[in-house]
Symmetry: C2
Subunit: 223 residues, 2 copies
């Protein structure tokens, strides 16, 4: 195993280049040049280009999923096993949005990479996303406990719509900014999350949420 200097150098360089230029325009030769390692190192350490991309995406998305589940757990504990629909949806879309949006210049390479992964759809990433269903089922289950009076079909549609709004906001933030002539503030992630959660709750319950959780547990950029 020695030092995985080479390995991590490749990972870092690849993440940065993919974030900057997208998957279509970056070749292995670009990556190894940026990482200052030999061309064969990629296949030696990762097996193939696709496995490199997969590793980048997997490691980031399990981090997000962990955050999601952690928030969900906290919400369910706080509600005595039955979290509020508000907090469930917040746990669902919050981590992703906080991880990808926010002031342009503050965005990490990782977040820019994840935005790319949302926009361009490349086979290895698509394969991983398809396995995300089991993860979503946990949220569907929590929602069912939270809103037993809502039909399952409506629940799934609500979940789907919440993800849709979050996802599209990440993917197409630029268009919204242009369309609104800058009026829609895409740097204010907290408010965006509030909006998406509010709309989703309305969609699910037919009425507005009374409770807006006072203080947030997690914020981007630790204290």
């Amino acid at each position: 195993m020695a030092s995985d200097q080479t390995r991590t150098a490749i990972l870092h360089a690849a993440e940065r280049l993919y974030a900057e230029r997208g998957f279509g325009d970056v070749t292995l030769r670009d990556i190894v040049a940026a990482a200052d390692v030999n061309l064969a190192a990629v296949n030696y350490h990762f097996g193939s280009k696709d496995e490199l991309i997969a590793e980048l995406f997997v490691s980031r998305s399990i981090a997000t999923n962990r955050e999601r589940l952690n928030e969900l757990k906290l919400a369910e504990e706080a509600g005595g096993g039955r979290a509020s629909i508000d907090s469930i949806l917040r746990a669902l879309v919050g981590p992703t949005l906080r991880g990808c949006l926010g002031p342009e210049r503050e965005r990490s390479t990782a977040s820019r990479f994840m935005i790319r992964a949302s926009i361009e759809s490349v086979p290895p990433i698509r394969r991983i996303k398809n396995r995300e269903i089991d993860h979503l089922r946990k949220f569907a289950a929590a929602m069912r406990r939270s809103l037993p009076e809502v039909s399952e079909v409506d629940l799934y549609w609500g979940l789907h719509f919440a993800l849709a709004m979050a996802h599209q906001t990440i993917r197409d933030s630029e268009r919204l900014a242009k369309l609104s002539d800058g009026m829609c503030d895409l740097d204010d992630v907290g408010t965006i999350i509030d909006r998406i959660v509010a709309v989703s709750v309305k969609a699910l319950t037919g009425r507005q949420t009374q409770t807006k959780p006072a203080a947030k547990l997690v914020t981007r950029g630790a204290p």
Copy 2:
């Protein structure tokens, strides 16, 4: 001009192959083989591969946009210059959804192509989509007329969310079907449109204040 047999044969074959296998896996050689024309014909008739893709996408999306604007016009005429928000949103998302969803086996090549174009994001198509903003502005304007009491920011977010739900439903219908174990009927386009419109209307006309308490159905910006 002779007969544009060759031209249209290329267009048809390309649309079909892209619809079936996606943009990443189809080469010019695949296309000309399917169209039974010479390799050089693509560059002769279209200039380049990207221009071929662009032409396919443009012709389909101006058709959709025309439908949208037509529905919008009808709605505004019916409302005496001020269409209901319901009908505006329906004009926005209806044509796209009807064009892309519905029973699998009934889907035309064109609709499958447009689904691909939603999922995979390839440069020539992205460029065209970026020019779609002017088209959306017409809907934003209609919405403003329809809901003068709603702030512009909220209007843009509502428009954005409506598109988000429509778009994601097209893109990820398979995941929703799997997640809901088939309970969400993605063949019933009419109901899907109803759902999306209903949620969007609720998002737009419900109370908009998340931070301020107790304002009745009131304007959130200056009157």
